[in-house]
């Protein structure tokens, strides 16, 4: 059967190598895609998955190797050419245009025209139809920057799906989606599969791999580990293939949420209201406690985080830190109070692209120290190296510009940045987006130990498992309001899901 399939390979990459300064990102990698299959490409952060995607779609030139589409040698030199050949890519970071309307983003380059003139009405209508498949009902004439990362991600996927390509490439499409969107997406993928389209799917969520994929290819440090039918590779073996070792901690021991002792409150929010975004929310975070925030897309989690970090100012309500009322007009005020926020949209609000990893990690600490007390480059380097080691950030050294890191590694740097200032309250908005399973475990462990040392945590996440693992208590949001608070025995994925869905 294998034999038969290889004759029909729709898309085949052979012996692809790619060298970046100091990193061999891909080392003679082979990869095949068959029509009508979902093929998962898996590996740690920095394993080379995105690089492979970029090479097959012409964004990056390959050093060596060949690409064949339907047995024809191709060498696209940019995305436009790849698209013409029938390859529709959705890249890891949301690469859409925030200044254009949602509809225009969906159809850019393929706008419906009459006599050479774009028919805007028609395009908006088409866009609405398309998004309906994704159960998304938004104003498509509004500019994309209006919407949260999750919606942008859905739009990006919709754009790829609507391209009617032979090959659909999805690089971590589900990173900031929650379960219901993921289900919708998978329904669509199954339909495409039945139409004979080949789908490449990259993710760090292993359950999703088993839900949808037919085959798996594993990369490790730029090398091909193997290609397996899904049935041949159970979860444990898969992790072993990815990490090159067994992972004991996470899979086995799902630590019990420690019962919060009677602790004094660190943060008390009462009746906080920000026009159009936060509606009368009250919550408390105690010292050493981890509080989770759950909710659907657009439920207002991000906005609560922003308000607590002084980015949006409250119109009414009160924030108290250690029982003292505070006004947070800007992030600096919040940092003064020992609050740190790891933002949801790492591309626009997190990384400072051209600056080095060292500078990106040291910046928050430097801001806290003030501009006068300069942290010398040596000290910055020591600090950075410490985190590069403990978070397994894949980089040759700390001087690499952060924009050249793989997505997951960027996320680790941003986390490191905020942990470096040892905050009293760390707010994490979708903290583990795109982080691989090994690092995920380590980060959860690290954060838990920080909580034990007295740090408090507020985590907004779409991943319910993660919330349950982290949190002592979970606040559920809907329509910018707090609708429930779960703790102790009542805390489980099911119960959270239940309160989210409750009408």
């Amino acid at each position: 059967m294998q034999q038969e399939q290889s004759e029909k390979a729709l898309f085949e990459l052979s012996n692809i190598s790619k060298q970046f300064p100091g990193v061999k990102a891909l080392d003679a990698v082979n990869f095949r895609l068959f029509p009508g299959e979902v093929h998962a490409l898996l590996g740690e952060n920095g394993a080379g998955k995105s690089t492979l995607v970029k090479i097959m779609t012409g964004v990056l030139p390959k050093d060596s190797g060949s690409i064949q589409l339907q047995q024809q040698e191709i060498s696209p030199s940019n995305t436009a050419e790849a698209q013409k050949l029938g390859i529709a890519p959705v890249y890891q970071e949301v690469n859409l245009l925030p200044n254009l309307s949602v509809a225009h983003n969906l159809f850019l380059g393929r706008e419906p025209t009459r006599f050479g003139c774009i028919r805007w009405q028609q395009m908006a209508e088409d866009a609405r139809q398309l998004l309906k498949r994704f159960k998304l009902n938004i104003d498509v004439t509004e500019s994309l920057s209006h919407y949260s990362v999750a919606i942008q991600q859905l739009v990006a996927i919709a754009r790829g799906v609507a391209m009617n390509a032979k090959v659909l490439v999805l690089d971590e499409p589900t990173a900031s989606l929650d379960s219901s969107e993921v289900d919708t997406l998978f329904d669509i993928l199954r339909q495409l599969k039945s139409e004979g389209i080949a789908i490449l799917f990259i993710t760090h969520f292993l359950e999703q791999v088993y839900q949808i994929s037919d085959r798996i290819t594993v990369l490790r440090s730029g090398k091909l580990i193997g290609e397996y039918p899904i049935t041949d590779l159970p979860r444990g073996k898969l992790i072993e293939a990815m990490l090159g070792q067994e992972l004991q901690q996470v899979t086995g021991e799902q630590t019990e949420a420690t019962e919060p002792a009677k602790r004094e409150p660190l943060l008390t929010v009462s009746n906080a209201t920000v026009p159009h975004s936060v509606d009368d929310v009250s919550l408390t975070v105690n010292k050493g406690e981890a509080v989770g925030m759950a909710g659907l897309l657009g439920s207002g989690r991000t906005e609560v985080c922003r308000a607590l970090f002084g980015i949006d100012t409250l119109k009414s309500g009160e924030i108290k830190i250690r029982q003292q009322p505070v006004t947070l007009n800007q992030p600096a005020d919040a940092m003064q109070q020992g609050i740190a926020l790891c933002p949801e949209d790492r591309k626009t609000d997190g990384i400072i692209g051209p600056l080095s990893i060292r500078e990106n990690i040291a910046l928050a600490l430097q801001v806290q120290a003030g501009w006068w007390r300069y942290i010398s480059p040596e000290k910055q380097r020591t600090l950075a190296n410490q985190y590069i080691e403990s978070f397994h950030i894949a980089t040759p050294d700390s001087e690499k510009p952060i924009e050249e890191l793989s997505g997951g590694n960027q996320q680790k740097v941003i986390l490191a940045r905020w942990l470096a200032i040892s905050p009293q309250l760390l707010i994490l908005d979708e903290p583990t987006r795109g982080i691989d399973i090994g690092a995920h475990a380590e980060i959860i462990k690290l954060i838990k130990s920080l909580c034990d040392e007295g740090m408090s945590l507020l985590v907004a996440s779409s991943e319910l498992e993660e919330l349950v693992a982290f949190a002592n208590r979970v606040v559920v949001m809907r329509d910018h309001r707090k609708v429930a608070e779960l703790q102790g025995a009542e805390l489980s994925s099911q119960s959270i899901m239940h309160s989210i869905a409750e009408v």
């Binding site: 859409l96 245009l97 925030p98 225009h104």
Partner: protein
Amino acid sequence: MIARRFVPLLATFSLLVVMFIIGGFQFEGFASFQVVTNLLTDNAFLLVVALGMTLVILSGGIDLSVGAVVALSGVLCAVLISEYQWPPLLVFPLVLVIGTLFGTLMGSLIYFYKLQPFIVTLAGMFFARGLATTISEESVGIEHPLYYAVADSGIALPGNAWLPSYAIIVLAVLAGLFLLTHYSRFGGYVYAIGGNSQSAALMGVPIARSTIGIYAMSSFLAAFAGILYTFYTFSGYALTGIGMELDAIAAVVIGGTLLTGGSGYILGTLLGVMLMGIIHTYIIFEGSLNSWWARIAIGLLLFVFIALQKVLNRSSQRG
């Protein structure tokens, strides 16, 4: 209900009207047809240049060479028509082609060598003006029946107002650019590149073709404005349009286009040009300011308009 994104345009337009009314109360003859047509006539070539600049700025670039290209194309026209006796109808297409090639060259340098538009077009400015002075240091007059014929054609409007034919051509250019920018795929690409050229590339926008096309278009329009300018003065002169690029940029930005690219409207540029024009007209009507007070007044009026625009936009966003 007007869409919120058109509010800036509306704000600029209402400022224009307010200025017109104030001037009308203050000076006899200000609120007249003639002043309106003069606005169009006197700013015709600036408008053409500014339209090209709008495209460039929408794409996140800038074109500093336009003023010099206007001068170069004027000098070329004048020299070829007057000194070499070439027929104008042959000269114009030739000059337009040269202008377009010049823009293509700048666009290619910008795209293929990843050079910054500001600097490439600054060098382009030096080059075009240098070439113009090399061709003829002196201004060259044009005596040709066609010029007189065109100067005498136009539409007479009530109130002794006169809309010359070339102002009408400019309106056609405006319409063309409006369609190109807001109703063509190319226009979409311009916005896309301006929004984020990396993302645009990853979405499959043909960056090479579009970037080069944008600069070619801008130079084409500048060359066109240069030809218009010869009808305006019956001559070509190498020092024409010094600083015109800044006027064009200012008009584009006052018209609500973001210099960072990706956001703005063609009609905004029209309003921006008109707003700057009406400020100048107002100062001339006032007539008692000496050189420096005139400068200060122009600066202050511009500031007041920009500030008012900000206030109007902001309050509309809240409401």
